[in-house]
């Protein structure tokens, strides 16, 4: 790490107040505990809403698959939720739900709304992607409706649902940052700090650091979902018999 630091430091003027974009690593080292605690809250704020959103979207998605007439209204109404500007939703959630105005729950609740918006369609389409022969085969060997859903349809739909989860997770990572502007502690605070200190000239280190950490976080979460999908769908790697 010290080598890495040295590399970045040489690309940089010696001043600790350097505003070179490359100084982000030095800035990180100077504010490590603060940045890491923001990274941690940013992580759970990005992940928890997707999990809760998926739990809500599963029954909604199943309903709109089971009763075909429900699909168009369900998908367009939940899809519309996605067009509410996130800052408006963050500010609206506390009065609507009777939370105190700085309740840290307002951000995960708002993001859950977006996750549901993305995932209802994905769950419905995922279930629709299960080949009809598979369903018939399951029924033929005596699977009831519920058992067929959990043991056959959902596992087979995993790749489609996982693709939606990846989109929802990555978009949450970027949306959480917006909550930084209303004082919620997460990586968005780095952008606020960068903006505040960009006078008289631009001050890049906290802004670049925020972008780098958000991108890294998104990549790691994305990789985890891919890995989990692989583990849950071993049959996809099966080699066809010769």
């Amino acid at each position: 790490m010290s080598l890495l630091h040295a590399v970045f430091a040489t690309a940089d003027s010696p001043s600790s107040a350097s505003s070179s974009p490359w100084h982000f690593f030095g800035y990180f080292l100077d504010h490590r505990s603060q940045d890491l605690s923001w990274l941690w809250t940013h992580t759970w704020l990005s992940v928890v809403p997707v999990i809760v959103g998926l739990l809500i979207a599963l029954p909604l998605g199943w309903l709109s698959r089971r009763y075909g007439w429900l699909y168009p209204p369900m998908v367009s109404i939940t899809g519309l939720l996605y067009t509410i500007p996130s800052i408006a939703l963050f500010v609206l959630v506390p009065p609507l739900l009777g939370l105190s105005s700085l309740d840290p729950l307002q951000v995960p609740i708002a993001l859950t709304v977006y996750s549901v918006a993305l995932l209802v369609r994905v769950v419905a389409d995922g279930l629709a992607s299960v080949p009809e022969e598979v369903n018939q085969a399951a029924t033929a060997i005596g699977y009831g409706r519920a058992r067929r859903l959990f043991a056959v349809e959902l596992p087979v739909a995993v790749p489609v649902i996982a693709a939606g989860l990846r989109v929802a997770t990555v978009s949450n990572v970027s949306m959480v940052a917006i909550a930084g502007t209303i004082g919620m502690s997460n990586l968005g605070q780095l952008f606020q700090i960068g903006k505040d200190l960009s006078t008289p000239t631009a001050y890049y280190p906290p802004i670049v650091l925020g972008i780098v950490l958000c991108v890294l976080l998104a990549l790691v979460l994305d990789a985890l979902i891919i890995l989990a999908t692989r583990l849950m769908t071993p049959w996809r790697r099966a080699v066809p018999a010769k």
């Binding site: 107040a17 105190s100 700085l102 209303i182 004082g183 001050y203």
Partner: protein, 313 residues
């Protein structure tokens, strides 16, 4: 009455309106009255609500007969406004008196002899339940040492030199002899909040560090946002203590308030505070709005006071 004007005038030097020299060639002075005046050739930049605020465009017209050729919305005394003034997109700007970029860019603060801008003394606003005698003593000691020049110097450290606000706060407290450990506030649990601009964050850190030294248990909630967001938080107890500016918080709580002199503002403020909140002794430090111009603009039109903007050209 004269006495009042004098006090208000002194207070108002704290508020700077910055005018830039460049870029006024394209201004069209077709709008409104006051055509032919210096102001009618200039573009003013500032926050969105400045157009309608009592001490904004209407106040400038009422007190000085000044109406600008055009108003451009920038931001609230932040980098957008400073850069617009520096680059000549606006000729004059509504900035804050403790803004280090005023000095850094050699901007000129136009004096406000008629006290259009209300006093903006820094003071702590705190929930009654948390304002024990020890907490009050600690915060009052800070207010006693804080003045506009001192606050400006601290802002140079934070904004220009990019030092961390908590480090700057600690250093200032120890310079002022306010960091000695004590037990005045021990056992008190406080959430200290701040609005989302560097000076307010710094002041919150000063309060927090001083109270910590006196044994209080502090949690921080910085960069909450604007008053629309943090005043409800103060009311419902999500935040217990915040640095405020007497004029702005008065205007927020009572949009019809007319007081401008520091003591009048302080008295008026006591009457409109929400029941669970009090304000403590105010400091001499003022961070008020001011009309600021660039040095070149000031020289070109001979500007030292806002009143000079009403001169016929």
């Amino acid at each position: 009455m004269k006495h009042k004007i004098l006090i208000a005038g002194a207070a108002a030097t704290a508020l700077a309106l910055t005018l830039s020299a460049c870029g006024s060639s394209s201004s069209d002075s077709s709008s409104g009255g006051g055509s032919g005046t210096v102001a009618s050739k200039l573009i003013l930049g500032g926050p969105p609500e400045f157009k309608k605020r009592a001490d904004g465009i209407p106040g400038l017209a009422k007190h000085y007969g000044v109406s600008f050729g055009k108003y451009t919305v920038t931001d609230t005394g932040g980098p957008v406004t400073v850069n617009a003034l520096k680059n000549g997109q606006v000729d004059a700007a509504d900035l804050f008196t403790t803004d280090p970029s005023i000095e850094a860019n050699h901007f000129v603060i136009l004096t406000d002899p008629k006290a259009n801008f209300a006093a903006q003394n820094v003071l702590p606003i705190i929930s009654k339940a948390k304002a024990t005698d020890g907490v009050k003593t600690t915060l009052n000691a800070i207010s006693a040492k804080l003045d506009t020049a001192g606050l400006g110097a601290l802002m140079v450290k934070v904004v220009t030199q990019k030092q961390d606000p908590d480090a700057v706060a600690k250093a200032w407290l120890s310079d002022q002899g306010l960091s000695t450990a004590g037990t005045a506030a021990s056992g008190v649990k406080l959430t200290v909040g701040s609005a989302n601009f560097p000076e307010n964050v710094l002041l919150a850190q000063i309060y927090a560090e001083a109270l910590k030294a006196q044994g209080a248990k502090i949690s921080l909630k910085l960069n909450i946002g604007s008053r629309e967001k943090y005043v409800p938080a103060l009311k419902d107890g999500s935040v217990d203590l915040m640095p405020e500016y007497n004029g702005s918080i008065l205007q927020y709580l009572d949009p019809n308030a007319t007081a401008t002199a520091p003591d009048e503002v302080f008295t008026a403020l006591q009457k409109v505070l929400p029941k669970n909140l009090i304000v403590l002794t105010q400091s001499a430090a003022q961070d008020s709005d001011a009309i600021v111009v660039t040095k070149a603009t000031a020289a070109k039109y001979g500007l030292t006071s806002i009143a000079d903007l009403a001169k016929k050209q």
